[in-house]
């Protein structure tokens, strides 16, 4: 009897999951980007701690609001490029982890640099059947041309996921490709993991450390 009840509960949980997955599916990619952007900006504007430079809070904010919409496996695989095939599952997991940490830290710094700029959410140019789209947002600023942000997004079972971001035409994934390739050719996959770790530790210690060294 008890096992039957457990099975029923498990089934109900499955249904609930399927329902949320479908509900997320219904959020079109451009709407998703707009909602998340506005939500994050709104929180940053209201939060006194973040404005005072509380990094931990910014990172928390990114982890809860932004990260779920990124496909880090895909980003890492693409940035590591042809070496990805040679990496063991453990190495891949480490690479994804370190790359995610690096991107989150960098992203936290960009959010901290936010100064009340206005956003221009461009209409999505895609067919309803498309599963791979680019969502464009422009940041408007006085006396300078707008900065264009493009999110390459893919439709996946859990909803639309970002697999590359282009900032002013500079693809994040492509920009890491040469660096990663050099690191792998120099010290193998483990060398790249070590380089990423060292970089993350250096950022942890604060941006002034690098300056003091000079």
């Amino acid at each position: 009897m008890q096992s039957l009840a457990r099975a029923a509960a498990a089934f109900a949980a499955c249904l609930a999951l399927a329902a949320t997955a479908r509900a997320q599916d219904l959020v079109p990619p451009d709407v998703l980007v707009k909602n998340v952007t506005l939500e994050v900006v709104d929180i940053v504007k209201k939060d006194k701690d973040i404005q005072a430079g509380d990094r931990r809070k910014v990172i928390d904010l990114i982890q809860t609001k932004v990260l779920p919409h990124f496909n880090f496996e895909a980003m890492t695989a693409s940035a590591v490029g042809r070496h990805w095939a040679k990496a063991t599952p453990e190495q891949r997991a480490r690479l994804v982890e370190e790359f995610r940490t690096l991107l989150v830290r960098t992203y936290a710094s960009s959010i901290a640099a936010y100064r009340d700029q206005k956003f221009d959410f461009r209409p999505l140019r895609a067919k309803p059947t498309d599963t791979d789209v680019t969502v464009t947002v422009r940041i408007l600023q006085s006396g300078a041309e707008p900065i264009q942000l493009e999110y390459d997004m893919e439709k996946r079972p859990g909803g639309w996921k970002v697999w590359d971001v282009r900032i002013a035409g500079i693809s994040l994934v492509a920009n890491y490709r040469t660096e990663f390739d050099n690191a792998v050719r120099n010290g193998g996959i483990d060398g790249l993991i070590k380089a990423l770790q060292a970089k993350n530790t250096a950022i942890e210690r604060g941006p002034t450390t690098a300056e003091r060294k000079s």
């Binding site: 006396g143 994934v173 490709r177």
Partner: protein, 305 residues
């Protein structure tokens, strides 16, 4: 921070920068990574180190002081003033690129901002719907089909290519600020413009510092990608985009393990290397810069050998 210690610090840093430059130059133009887009990487890295040292010693401190001392609205006036002057030749370049409507919009910007906007210090044209553009002669030549040519780092000016250097000669030669007479106000304006630009980049440079494993490579690739995007006004042809093929995009967590068996994988990897930064498998040359590149440390200058 007293003035004396500041001055001494600068002197020492500049001497170190000059020493790094000499060592690197005498080491010759090595190509540590054999990247086909960057045949003079040894020279470029030396220039990069010199620029970094100069920036640490003078550029960044002056820009930081400027940002701290001059109130935000005044800095916006300064930015707008120079941005307005630049609109004249941005319009010329748009015309040369066969975009007369954009050119007219640029000149309308100049007309409105110079008059209603009080010599350009207020960007009223943007509010009226005339959008700011970013054009220069390097982009115009690119639009005409001139390829990038080798990547070059110039002292003080930074990242460029052969094509963009020729463009820069035109940009500077025709620049109203550079042509301004008499000399003293011209010098003042050139310095003010440079300091303002550097101040606008303070946040970006800090982020770059954090994001890059090897700042030289990161900056070079970003420059080349950015220029390509600019030449196509933000819409470079899709085929050549650094598009990750589906097989490389690990359909599910750990599904990437199945990559080797997939029929499209080899083709996908070929696509990747074509689209991405690495054009061909270069001969694995010994490198010495896998360690994260920090700041301006001139010790990092001589490379490859």
């Amino acid at each position: 921070m007293s003035r004396d210690t500041l001055g001494a610090g600068w002197g020492a840093k500049l001497r170190r920068a000059a020493a790094a430059l000499l060592v690197a130059l005498s080491a010759g133009c090595a190509t540590p990574n054999g990247d086909p887009r960057d045949p003079i990487e040894g020279f470029n890295r030396a220039m990069f180190s010199f620029n970094e040292a100069f920036d640490q010693a003078i550029g960044k401190p002056v820009a930081t002081a400027y940002r701290e001392v001059i109130p935000g609205p005044v800095r916006t006036w300064v930015r707008n003033f120079f941005s307005n002057i630049a609109d004249l030749f941005i319009g010329v370049n748009n015309l040369l690129q066969g975009k007369p409507a954009d050119a007219l919009s640029d000149w309308a910007r100049f007309a409105f901002n110079t008059t209603i906007g009080l010599f350009g210090i207020n960007d009223v044209a943007s509010d009226m719907g005339f959008e700011k553009h970013d054009e220069d002669f390097g982009q115009t030549f690119g639009r005409w089909g001139v390829p990038d040519g080798a990547y070059i780092v110039w002292p003080f000016l930074g990242s460029s290519t052969v094509r963009d250097t020729v463009g820069l000669v035109f940009d500077i030669g025709l620049d109203p600020v550079w042509r301004h007479e008499p000399r003293d106000p011209r010098r003042f304006m050139l310095v003010l413009r440079a300091v303002g630009r550097r101040a606008d980049l303070l946040d970006a440079s800090r982020i770059l510092e954090e994001a890059a494993l090897d700042k030289y490579v990161f900056q070079r690739d970003a420059y080349l990608q950015r220029r390509r995007s600019l030449i196509h006004d933000g819409n470079p042809p899709r085929a050549e985009r650094p598009e990750a093929p589906r097989a490389e995009r690990a359909d599910l967590p750990h599904a990437g393990a199945a990559l080797e068996e997939r029929p499209g994988a080899e083709e996908a990897r070929r696509d990747l290397s074509r689209a991405g930064a690495l054009l061909e498998e270069p001969a694995a040359a010994p490198q010495s810069h896998a360690e994260p590149f920090v700041g301006s440390a001139p010790a990092g200058a001589p490379r490859g050998g």
